[in-house]
């Protein structure tokens, strides 16, 4: 009995279809392997999560450019600014200000800048005293400040420092060795105005990096003996 040619054709088409599917699968696999090979040639691995991304960035970037916010939860760091509050400092007045490092992470204090405005009441006017103004209008005469790290009860000066001597935003006052301020710690900054008439609005802004410290609540100080 002769075989039905249509049946044979149908079977043949099925086989072709199967071959095509296998071919597609093989092509996709080849493409994936090529991509993997390319990455490996660059010293990289496919990004499947933050771990591999960290390894890739470390491999492809200059050490100074490796970002701080990629990595283990207790190793990442991110930039942060802590600023004092808006407060008027009237003549012959000392005002307590400062900032508290929040519980989430500690603070590595690296630099600080000041911003001082002169305030007049009536119709309110706050005018920034630009320290770059060399005509003399860039100064805040009589305004001084003190810093106290309440975590260690350390004062950072023997007497108030003239605010004009620090923190021009163009040249922030950098701490050559950073300071670690633990979570929940408070940095007290007091402003004293000994000018006869000027009312000042001073801000002191600390710049640094936040970093998580495991069991920070168990650390009562940063010094051991």
């Amino acid at each position: 009995m002769a075989e039905n040619p249509l049946l044979k054709l149908g079977q043949l088409q099925k086989v072709v279809q199967q071959i095509n599917i296998r071919q597609q699968y093989q092509d996709a696999k080849e493409k994936m392997l090529n991509e993997k090979e390319n990455l490996l040639r660059q010293g990289l691995v496919p990004n499947t999560g933050p771990q591999t991304m960290q390894a890739n960035l470390q491999s492809s970037l200059d050490p100074a450019m490796v970002p701080g916010n990629v990595g283990d939860i207790n190793k990442v760091l991110w930039p942060y600014y802590f600023s004092t509050d808006y407060l008027l400092v009237n003549p012959a007045e000392t005002v307590k200000n400062g900032f508290t490092v929040t519980q989430e992470a500690a603070f590595i204090w690296m630099a600080y800048t000041k911003v001082v405005s002169i305030h007049t009441a009536g119709p309110e006017v706050n005018t920034y005293i630009n320290p770059d103004d060399v005509s003399g209008a860039g100064l805040a005469p009589g305004l001084s400040f003190t810093i106290r790290d309440s975590q260690s009860a350390r004062d950072y000066q023997n007497q108030p420092i003239n605010l004009d001597s620090v923190g021009n935003p163009r040249w922030p006052t950098t701490l050559p060795r950073p300071l670690l301020i633990l979570p929940n710690s408070n940095v007290e900054i007091s402003f004293t105005n000994s000018h006869a008439s000027n009312i000042y609005v001073p801000f002191l802004t600390a710049f640094g990096y936040r970093i998580r410290i495991e069991d920070a609540k168990n650390l009562l100080g940063t010094v051991f003996t």
Binding site: P46, D72, T113, N126
Partner: protein, 184 residues
């Protein structure tokens, strides 16, 4: 093979050879960042946000504007510095009672505990650097909010301000598979 200071002869169009050669010849700080594998190269990039409260605005604690930029899908941004510019030196411009705060929407992280005066940041060429860069993933939003500490003040001049976020773009392969930059 040429014996020129221990270097292989560079074959035309061979970028790998060029990279190797540059690494051999140049001090590390002079090696260009745009030579290498497609996922290794990085290039400088500025993201900008603009604020404008109009001319001679009256500001109160309710005065605020939020602007943002979105890192495009092509590559991530390694944020390395922030600077600002202004149109006027009067109270609506550089001398104003302006505050700023930054938020990385990807991690919901703020850069500050409370808004900081804009004058904290370097102007124009005097960029405020971030000594350790921060990675902002492709498609992520970065929000900037400008407000004021004045209780009620009529400012003088143009209140147009621009903030520039400088950094390097770097491709992150399969960035869509990396949902967070942190593990632990």
């Amino acid at each position: 093979m040429a014996i020129n200071n221990g270097l292989d002869q560079q074959v035309g169009g061979d970028i790998r050879g060029l990279k190797k050669r540059l690494r051999h010849i140049l001090p590390s700080y002079l090696i260009p960042s745009n030579v290498g594998g497609i996922n290794e190269v990085s290039w400088p990039f500025y993201e900008q946000v603009d604020f404008d409260f109009g001319a001679n605005p009256t500001v109160t604690p309710a005065t605020r504007q939020t602007q943002s930029f979105q890192v495009s899908q092509e590559a991530a941004l390694l944020l390395m510095g922030i600077s600002r510019s202004y149109d006027a030196v009067t109270t609506a411009g550089n001398a104003g009672p302006w505050l700023i705060d930054f938020r990385d929407r990807q991690s919901a992280r703020q850069f500050n505990d409370k808004p900081v005066p804009i004058q904290v940041f370097g102007t124009k060429g005097n960029i405020s650097p971030l000594p350790t860069p921060m990675l902002i993933m492709p498609n992520a939003f970065f929000e900037v909010t400008m407000s004021t500490y004045a209780t009620s003040q009529v400012l003088v001049g143009s209140s147009h301000h621009q903030f520039s976020f400088f950094g390097y773009r770097i491709r992150v392969e399969d960035a869509d598979k990396v949902m967070s930059t942190i593990f632990g």
